[in-house]
Amino acid sequence: MLKKSILALLFTFSISSMLTAKMIVNMDDEPAHMEDNKLCFDCHSKAVYQYENEFSGKIERKAMNPNFIFKPEEFYSGVHRHFSCTDCHSPDYETFPHDAELRLEEMYSCLDCHGGDETYARFHFETIEEEFQKSVHATKHDESFNCWMCHDPHSFKIMTHGNYKISEIVEYDNNTCFSCHDYKTVKFQRISDSIKPPLEEIHDFLPNFELHFSAVRCLECHTDTKDTMWVAHNILPKEKAVKNCVECHSTNTMLTAKLYKYQNIEARKDRGTFNAVLLNEAYVIGANRNIYLNIVSIALFLLSLLGVAVHVFFRIKKK
């Protein structure tokens, strides 16, 4: 017991030191390039955009390619919120109609900016890349499967380094997986010929599938349980996914090393022990145990047996 609480304490300290490290992105100030970006968002945030045709002088209305629609709210709540669009895109985009050749513009990958830079060292981009290379996403697909498949730089948030609730982390991260792995999406068909059965069918071994999907992330079972990464990127082949309930549903639940390591430090400061983190938001049968209840119940049970034994003793003796 003591050993456990010491471990929990150490764990708390190590995480709090990580979290109290200065936030890299200032999320409080107004975004730096709202004005300039508005020019782009004027068209690129709408399903239908309009412009004046220089030749005919008429106002034209056109449907926007859905892949090129970005919501300003999402952009400005993401990690790249202080960017100007033309920080990454060619300044030639500033003219309209855009030059057709611009379409062939190369997209940056995460490491192009974040690789080998001390500022981002704590995010371990290089390790993420290594882990990703081992994952099914890299081994079962060609190079066209890049970071962008899951992480859109136009909206990406670091959920696990902020004050997000566990349920928010779960929803955000799972939506990342669902954006391809939901059988209804086109995205999956873009890179695969196979047609997947619905997720609820594949996961029908889970009692209360919906509750599981809203309480834990796909990552919990589909990455290595011994993964030491902050956010695991080595997605395992489906045969290797965790299927043994007790991996989570026991006091040494693997969730402590996975999802629950992100619980924000504020909650920890208030409540202290790790069990409190579990209680705060989730109830995992077999993992949340109330130590007092356990002691009292065992004591009462033994007392009742003792009472019976004493009574039996006298019954035999006085016969």
């Binding site: 009692p207 109330n290 119940s297 009462l300 049970f301």
Partner: protein, 206 residues
Amino acid sequence: MTEKLYLYPIWLRIWHAINALMFLVLLVTGVSLQYSNIDFPLIRFDYAVTYHNIAGIILSINYLIFVLGNLTTGNARFYKLKIKGLFQSLMKQANYYMFGTFKGEETPFPVNADRKFNPLQKVAYVVTMYVFIPIMIITGLALLFPETIVENVFNLSGIYLTALLHGIVSIMLLLFLVIHLYFSTMGKTPISNFKSIVNGYHEAHD
């Protein structure tokens, strides 16, 4: 002389048999779930979940037999508690169990056609059947449909609080069972009450 009284009608015995069996399944699977451990699984977790759910649903439906049976037959009269003088009669019965019985005294509340239970038994049965079991059924059903539970109560997960109540009352029921089983051996012979709940006839003390 051994007098035989028909005190346990057939519907009651059927209810009791199903109830006892499901209760044991719930107890074992429930303990297995609560104390689940990777290295020492009592019952495989997913099996335990399934059995626990099924047994819980059967016990709940079966509970209706108990309530309806008592509403429609005279059996309910055995459960009527009179508050006046209750404490004295409880003490009397407790006294008998603690001392009197060893001195060969007569039981203070002998069983007859109008009195099936002694006061202690009566209170235990009323509390168990009309307080504990309903709480277990309600919290159990809620946990089966967790989306119906309030999410957050004073910063604690509503599901957790429901599960805690389910757990606390389950311990009360475990204690009830130990006491119930033991006091059932206090009949005419240690096994005569067990025979009664099977064949329906009570064997009175000589």
